[in-house]
């Protein structure tokens, strides 16, 4: 739609003082887009590789993982993480994105009921989603890497 150039624009990102509510709102979009494009692509790729048979699945695994170091007993050394660094980084990022999107999604469902709009409550729940996503990601990957 054409608009005369002299008309004022609504205030944009740069003029606001940053707060947790603003951060989680932007993170919700960013993690949502990341999960939709990156997560869905990786997930579909994984399923299609498995459906393609042992050879295509082996190629997928070969891209994602490296060979585990072999111990003196001829078995893979326990506790040696097998993921390649880049896939590990992507997967850790995706799980963090999921936890952040999930926690803030629940926060939004509560706000849809008309609750938690008070400034202090809103700020607290925003911070809680960030704390939750970081702690949940750390715990999940600690579990994965120590199994």
């Amino acid at each position: 739609m054409a608009r005369p150039r002299s008309r004022p624009l609504s205030p944009h990102l740069t003029i606001w003082r940053w707060g947790p509510h603003m951060l989680v709102s932007i993170l919700h979009r960013a993690t949502g887009v990341g999960l939709a494009l990156g997560g869905a692509t990786l997930f579909t790729w994984w399923l299609a590789a498995a459906a393609g048979g042992p050879a295509s699945y082996a190629r997928f695994l070969d891209l994602m993982t490296r060979d585990q170091p072999i111990g003196p007993d001829g078995l893979p050394l326990p506790g040696t993480a097998m993921l390649n660094p880049l896939p590990a980084l992507i997967l850790i990022g995706l799980t963090w994105a999921f936890f952040q999107h999930m926690a803030n999604g629940i926060r939004h469902l509560v706000m849809d009921l008309g609750a938690a709009y008070e400034l202090k409550t809103n700020k607290t729940t925003s911070l809680a989603t960030i704390a939750f996503s970081i702690i949940a990601t750390l715990l999940l990957w600690a579990w994965i890497f120590t199994r």
Binding site: V33, A40, F43, T44, L47, A48, A51, L109, L140
Partner: protein, 127 residues
């Protein structure tokens, strides 16, 4: 908002011809995702290994294949709605239309591939 006729006011749909359906489905799929994706993440991490045999054996159980197909439908529907909202906020007119078509192609294409892959493994049984 339907100022023209009585029936228009009752339906309350206005000139857009639709109401809160997009918004509501985003919430319904969000609730479904909460269950399905948490189940998926925990299940994947609890698998003893992610080698071919373990994964195909796991996928060949109806109690895995069916929730996983539901997960694909639900998450893909959810992100299809979400990507549309983001796109509409930042793009206008022609690039918006092109973007919407791309979003639809990606969602339906990847979703069909994912569901077909799950069903193929499930119907073939573990090998």
């Amino acid at each position: 908002m339907g100022t023209g006729t009585g029936i228009g006011r009752v339906r309350g749909l206005g000139s857009a011809k639709s109401g809160a359906h997009h918004w509501w489905m985003q919430r319904v799929t969000a609730a479904g995702n909460l269950l399905l994706v948490v189940w998926f993440v925990l299940s994947i991490v609890r698998l003893p290994s992610l080698d071919y045999r373990t994964v195909t054996l796991w996928l060949s159980s109806p109690f895995v294949a069916v929730p996983l197909v539901l997960l694909v439908i639900n998450t893909f529907y959810h992100f299809r709605l979400g990507l549309q909202v983001v796109l509409e906020d930042y793009q206008k007119e022609s690039s918006k239309v092109a973007g919407l078509i791309a979003i639809n192609f990606f969602t339906i294409g990847a979703g069909a591939l994912a569901i077909f892959s799950i069903l193929k493994i499930a119907f073939a049984g573990a090998r």
